[in-house]
Structures are given as C-alpha cells and as structure tokens.
C-alpha cells in the first residue's frame, strides 16, 4: 500500500490536467469508444442540467490518516489543504439560506481538520434534515483524541457513512493498508455500542463498499445481504444500509489502472455497462461540492479534476442558488463511472 500521495511523490497524475488529457485521448480520441458527451447525446440527455439543490457536500480538507490505493482525492497525511474557519463560516451562511436538506462532510478524514468539531457543532444548530459525516472508521482508533468521536457524533445526531471495502481482513487490508480491517471492526463495534446502526435506531450508520480493483461493484442489495450476514456472524456488528459505489478513473485509481494495464479494459466495462436511466439521477443534478478553499464544483470528482462549475457563481463567497440552478454540468469520460449499471453516487445506486 502507498504511504505518500501522488502529489507528494511528484507523480504526473497529481496534476488534474494530465488526468483529463488521458481521459480525452487514446481510445476516446481514436473513436474506439464514444465520449461521454456523444453517449448521452444518443438519448438526447446532453447537456446534463442541475436541478434544485438538495445536497451540499463540503470537502473540509485532503488530509487523511490513511493512504488508500484507490483514493480519488489522492488524500494522505502529507496533504496540507485544509478548510479554514473563515471558509466554514461562509459555508454556514450558505447552509442557513439554501434549500438543501442534506449536508455531507467529507475529506480526506474530515475529523483531522482542527476546526471540525466547531463546524459540526455550528452546522448542527442550523436544522438540516440529514447531516452526514464520511468517516473512514480507522480515524476513531487512530489517536486518543478521536476515541470519543462516536459520542460526539451521537450528540449532534450526525449520520455516519463509513467505507468498508470487504467483510474479510485480507481484501480490506490489501486496499486500505495493514491493520485497517481490525481497527474498522473495533470502530464499528464502538459505534454500535452508543446506538449507531442498531435496528430501528435513529442514529444512522451506513457503509460504503467500493471494489478493491479494476472491476465494477456487484448488485447493491446482494452485497448488503452478504455484508450484513458476515459482519453479524463474525463480529456481532449491525449497520443500516450499504452503498455500492463505482471507482471513478481519476487520481490514484487512474494511476493504478494505468500501472496495472487495466485502464482500457476498465473503460470498456464502464461504457458497456452504461445505463441511460442512471443519467437522469447522477448526483451532480442535485448536489454541489465545495472545496477546502471555498470553490464550487458539480461533484467531488470534478473538484479533484479542478473542473469548476459552469456558472458566474463560482465561490462560496458569491454563492447564488438561482444562478447555479439549471447550470450545465461539466462532464468528461470519468462520468461513465456514475452511469454504469445501476449507477453510482455518494448514496449508492441511482437507477
């Protein structure tokens, strides 16, 4: 497993324009595979337009205690991009005044932002319906100062969404690093102990599954059944829902695809699994993503590719919901990851 981000390693692919170049050249340039734009045009679905804003996803920083092989953020302990309290204040203003019903904090490991707790406390006062924190689980066991996170989440009625690559130690540690499985299990048990994920509990605990390699996720319902059975039988762990998410060909996953000579086959799989029904509900149609420095993007993936929103309102300081609604979504070939099979979003399948 990696110990440094691509950025730290000085890898070419740490540059978003290099990634976009790869996604536009080769098989897509030669016409072997249709571009995403051509594909959605076949069913008159181009351009994709933003509908009413429902979800604000805020990336509070790229710092992470882990360096997972396939991270689309290229996150790691060496990343220094962290949201300041000032930007958080601007976000709070927007949350108060926008029609969004869901707030979704992500990272890196959002908990590593020094103002994370302050932000959660303030945001929970705003009265958002669904307040999500994407926690990688191991952070809860990473350091004593994080041990009380389950209680903290509970106090603010946070909806915890955590990644769990597999229900076996081998497959989990291969993707996320040695010891990740045992720490994650312990963290899940602690979340269960304070009431998270228990049947009928309002303290929501959902898991995210994404494949450990160059293949697509299986059926979400079947995977959830398998996860539930295995985690219950082996560790007595409960959780609510499983979201099966497709890996998008960007950042470290793109690097992995190319290095392992899986890139072309993977793109073929995505294009073959293209489902026009999923296009209707891709998450950029009701979500806005805000970066650590306050810029607006159609989704977290476009944020990593540095593809800004196609609108005059480009920064949290000049947030204008009316201007943003109806904007044309900025697309490239990575978007095929959102429309394969039953589709994929931060909340799992969409079709």
């Amino acid at each position: 497993m990696a110990t440094k981000s691509l950025k730290k390693l000085g890898n070419n692919l740490a540059q978003s324009n290099k990634q976009l170049e790869i996604l536009s050249n080769g098989i897509f340039k030669s016409g072997k595979l249709p571009t995403f734009k051509d594909k959605i045009s076949e069913t008159s679905q181009f351009p994709i337009k933003a509908k009413k804003l429902e979800i604000l996803q805020i990336n509070v920083g790229y710092m992470c205690n882990q360096v997972c092989d396939h991270c689309h953020v290229d996150a790691g302990p060496d990343r220094k991009e962290i949201m300041t309290r000032d930007t958080m204040r601007q976000c709070l203003e927007v949350i108060k005044n926008s029609g969004a019903h869901t707030l979704d904090l992500t990272g890196g490991a959002p908990e590593m932002n020094p103002d994370f707790r302050w932000f959660v406390e303030e945001a929970s006062k705003v009265g958002i319906t669904d307040f999500i924190v994407r926690s990688n689980l191991t952070i809860i066991r990473a350091n004593k100062k994080y041990y009380d996170l389950p209680e903290f989440f509970k106090k603010h009625n946070v909806h915890v969404v955590s990644s769990m690559p597999h229900w076996t130690r081998g497959k989990t540690d291969k993707q996320r690093g040695d010891g990740v499985f045992d720490k994650s299990i312990k963290a899940l048990q602690e979340l269960n102990a304070v009431g998270y994920g228990m049947p009928g509990s309002d303290l929501r605990l959902d898991l995210v599954y994404n494949p450990s390699g160059a293949f697509l996720p299986g059926d979400q319902v079947a995977m959830e059944k398998d996860f539930k059975k295995a985690l219950m039988d082996d560790f007595g762990i409960e959780f609510h829902n499983l979201f099966a998410i497709t890996n998008l060909p960007i950042a470290r996953f793109l690097d992995y695809l190319i290095a392992s000579e899986n890139y072309e086959d993977y793109m073929y799989s995505l294009v073959e699994a293209y489902n026009p029904a999923a296009v209707e509900n891709v998450m950029c149609t009701n979500t806005l993503s805000i970066s650590w420095d306050g810029y607006l993007f159609d989704c977290d993936f476009n944020q990593m590719l540095e593809l800004p929103v196609n609108s005059k309102s480009r920064h949290i300081s000049e947030f204008n919901e009316e201007l943003l609604e109806g904007r044309n979504i900025v697309i490239s070939q990575h978007c095929y990851g959102c429309t394969a099979g039953a589709g994929s979003s931060c909340q799992g399948v969409v079709a």
Partner: protein, 111 residues
C-alpha cells in the same frame, strides 16, 4: 506472422455471432441471460458454478469473464480457488473412475 489463436479482446465481440445467424444467436443470448438470473439458485451460486465449469472447459474467455464476475460479487479468491478444485476433483474423478473399466477389461482378458 504468427498470431495467437485466442485474443482477449475477442470476448467483447461475442455478441457479433448473431450477425451471421440472427435467430439462433438471439435465442442463445436470451437463454444465457435467463440462466444466470436469480432463481432457485442465487446469482452468486451460479457465478461460482460458471467459474468452475469455465476451468473444466478450459475456456480462456469464460475464465476471464467469470473471474471478473465473481470478484464483482465480493467472492474471495479462496472461494474461487475452492470452486475450481470442485471442478478439478470431478474431472480427475471422472478420469479415475474409468479405471474400473480398465480393471474389468484386464480381468476379462488376463483372468
């Protein structure tokens, strides 16, 4: 110029067999799709059976396809290898059980 008999990229062209015999090809793919649907057996069980049979048939295309399919279903490599051993056991059993035929013949000829 020597070309390999099998080309992994040919698997993607499998659907083209309908072009030269539309009715039969379409019927085959309909049937194939139906077979792998969730039924009295789960799609997961069927995928593992397919993986084992892909090996006993020694079809490189099927091996590629069902290795990927089982991975997608969250099946572990230990489970995959066990499934292949089931296929291998039946194969070797089928070979060895014919040993009885050999024994019968020896006993008759050389009794």
């Amino acid at each position: 110029m020597s070309k390999p008999y099998y080309d992994a990229a040919d698997l993607r062209k499998f659907g083209k067999i309908t072009e030269w015999s539309e009715e039969l090809g379409t019927k085959f793919f309909d049937y194939y799709g139906k077979v792998f649907e969730e039924g009295a057996l789960t799609a997961r069980e069927k995928s593992l059976i397919a993986l084992a049979v892909a090996h006993t048939e020694q079809c490189p295309y099927c091996i590629d396809a069902y290795t990927k399919d089982t991975l997608q279903r969250g099946i572990t490599k230990e489970q995959m290898m066990e499934a292949i051993h089931v296929g291998a056991a039946i194969k070797s059993g089928a070979t060895l059980v014919h040993g009885v035929q050999m024994m019968n013949k020896v006993n008759k000829l050389d009794g």
